[in-house]
Symmetry: C2
Subunit: 336 residues, 2 copies
DNA sequence: GATGGACTATACAACGTTGCAGTACTTAAG
DNA sequence: CTTAAGTACTGCAACGTTGTATAGTCCATC
């Protein structure tokens, strides 16, 4: 129904291939011919059929982004930034939500996705290690620290260092009993492991003992999990005087519990989060946190994919790991 | 490079079309043949090429979702829910961010999008009325109240009634000087107009005067806008004793300003928001708000699109407008 | 023991595009 | 004046899939 090259060609009185050449900016087309074709294109409102183009060329101009869930502000922000970065390359982004389920992530990676995509940006939650190996050769960029050595690029901040920075901030305030909220046992919960490691490092540096009862496990990384973990901490014999939460949602949940029990923040308990989501900038109290350079993460992820997709020599290089800066932002929840 | 029907056919010793029939679940295939083909499919790891399928059938299995911005929790939530609902129909969702720019929205609607999509779910911000007419016949579902009468379905809550409910809640608490934050002049800011109308209705019902100085305009619907508008209200001669904010982000921003000036919420000023984003359930104080039935909005939007895309008789019916329920949730910010 | 119907399988064309090969003409170089 | 190189354009095949048309086989029915 919509016009094709054929229709444009007929109207302009040239061959199909010439129209194709004009559309693709082929140089050896006489100006007069080009103008005539352009006019026909305008007149008919011709738009290239990308299905056909993809069938021929193998490229779809679509990349997939797989995140655990869009409802989580941090992932929503990253997703938004990636869509913007992709747009600058005139790529479209197709979004998958894995809900952190191993099965879903596996399907995704196994290439069971029914849609042809040129590349994949993936923020794995349930999967780690070799399970992440893409069956088909689709280029993949992983968001998160490198935990295996397959053929995929990585973009991440230094989680361990960042967690240590956050914890160090608490020790430097003179807090002695510092809890961690966000511990996860699963071997694939790499991010949680790294942040826990950083937390322990900073405590040890400060000459503080490691107390297992202060390392609170959680099911997920949502506000409710943080609120619940904080409640458990407060019900224990010796409550903490500071908490490092592995993300801002946990922190906001924890603060909610503290405030609702009338415990002043940061008066009695100081709280640091991780991610610098917008909520933390307007919450009461405002939230001290680790701010990853999210726009840069998004840009780098897209750039890396572009390199792999390009025809240049860089296309087949060894997997790279790119570090993105982070910084500690001190706000009210630690007395900033 | 990846195997096609041809390869499977060769391996199974049947014709290409028979493999196609097996893949598509055509009934008249001998069990033995079917088994042989299935085995070949497994062995080769065959996956249908949707580009080719689309070229043949015209259907891509992809729908587009256009939202102003994913960073906004409400839109992120809606997006997540729509992706889930679409998944149940094995559709994939392609996401566009318009940033509320008229130009971007126009392009989108004009079909300039380079990718073939079966349908569009669109949450317009800058555009209204006839400008929304889709050039090509792609089915479209609009999120938001019906503001024109072109061929598109609508899914929305009753904004005016909901805004009146929120405001009525404040009057019922005995508040007399109730401000509104979120007014927008632009004729296309339909949602803002409707919520303002509801606000005025409720005030009038309660026998309260309409005071233009209490109707605060904003540039956007973000926390910063709410914080800034609240500051202006507090700096005025006669500050309000309650505020109805046109969304939760504005409300959270407003609360931030109040708290940072030491004004008790809801003690001196009560605040109601709109959208019921998760932040409001854990903020300090927790936020009273209007909760639209977001899962239902998402489900209905996808269902309506499915109807239009179906071959059934409903495919070409008159445009429909579906109302979704909302309810007032009373929390701490109004003394709940 | 013909006739018709259900079943199984196949061949071919077409969807809209682009890569490749090729033609015809023009200009520059030897 | 021949040859080579460049320019402007065209035609054909192919990407992987599915709809239509068709043909053969087998069985039940009249």
């Amino acid at each position: 129904m919509p016009p094709g090259l054929k229709d444009v060609a007929a109207r302009a009185g040239v061959s199909i291939k010439t129209v194709s050449n004009v559309v693709n900016g082929y140089v050896h087309v006489a100006p007069a011919t080009r103008a005539r074709v352009q006019a026909a294109i305008e007149a008919l409102g011709y738009v290239p059929n990308i299905a056909a183009r993809q069938l021929r060329s193998g490229r779809s101009g679509v990349i997939a982004l797989a995140v655990p869930e869009l409802q989580s502000p941090y992932f929503a922000e990253i997703a938004g930034l990636i869509v913007q970065a992709a747009e600058r390359r005139s790529w479209t982004v197709l979004i998958d939500q894995t809900d952190g389920q191993a099965e879903r992530e596996r399907n995704l990676v196994a290439g069971l996705r029914r849609h042809a995509i040129d590349g994949l940006i993936f923020s794995p939650l349930a999967l780690a290690g070799e399970e992440l190996a893409l069956r088909d050769g689709t280029p993949m960029v992983l968001l998160g620290e490198r935990v295996w050595h397959g053929p995929a690029d990585h973009v991440a901040i230094d989680n361990t260092a960042a967690a240590a920075d956050a914890t160090r901030h608490l020790t430097s305030l003179g807090r002695r009993r510092i809890a961690a909220i966000g511990v996860q046992d699963r071997p694939s919960a790499v991010t949680a492991h790294q942040r826990l490691a950083g937390y322990r490092t900073a405590l040890t540096e400060a000459g503080l003992p490691l107390d297992p009862t202060l390392e609170m496990p959680v099911d997920g990384f949502h506000r409710a999990d943080g609120a619940e973990a904080m409640a458990r901490l407060l019900d224990a014999e010796e409550p903490p005087d500071a908490v490092f939460c592995f993300n801002d949602l946990l922190a906001l949940g924890a603060i909610r519990t503290l405030v609702s029990r009338g415990i002043p923040v940061p008066g009695r308990v100081a709280v640091v989060g991780f991610d610098d989501i917008e909520d933390g900038r307007f919450s009461t109290p405002t939230l001290s946190t680790i701010a990853p350079d999210a726009p840069r993460i998004a840009q780098l992820a897209v750039d890396l994919l572009a390199e792999r997709l390009g025809d240049g020599p860089a296309a087949a290089g060894a997997p790279r790991e790119l570090r993105v800066d982070h910084r500690l932002i001190v706000r009210e929840s630690t007395g900033g």
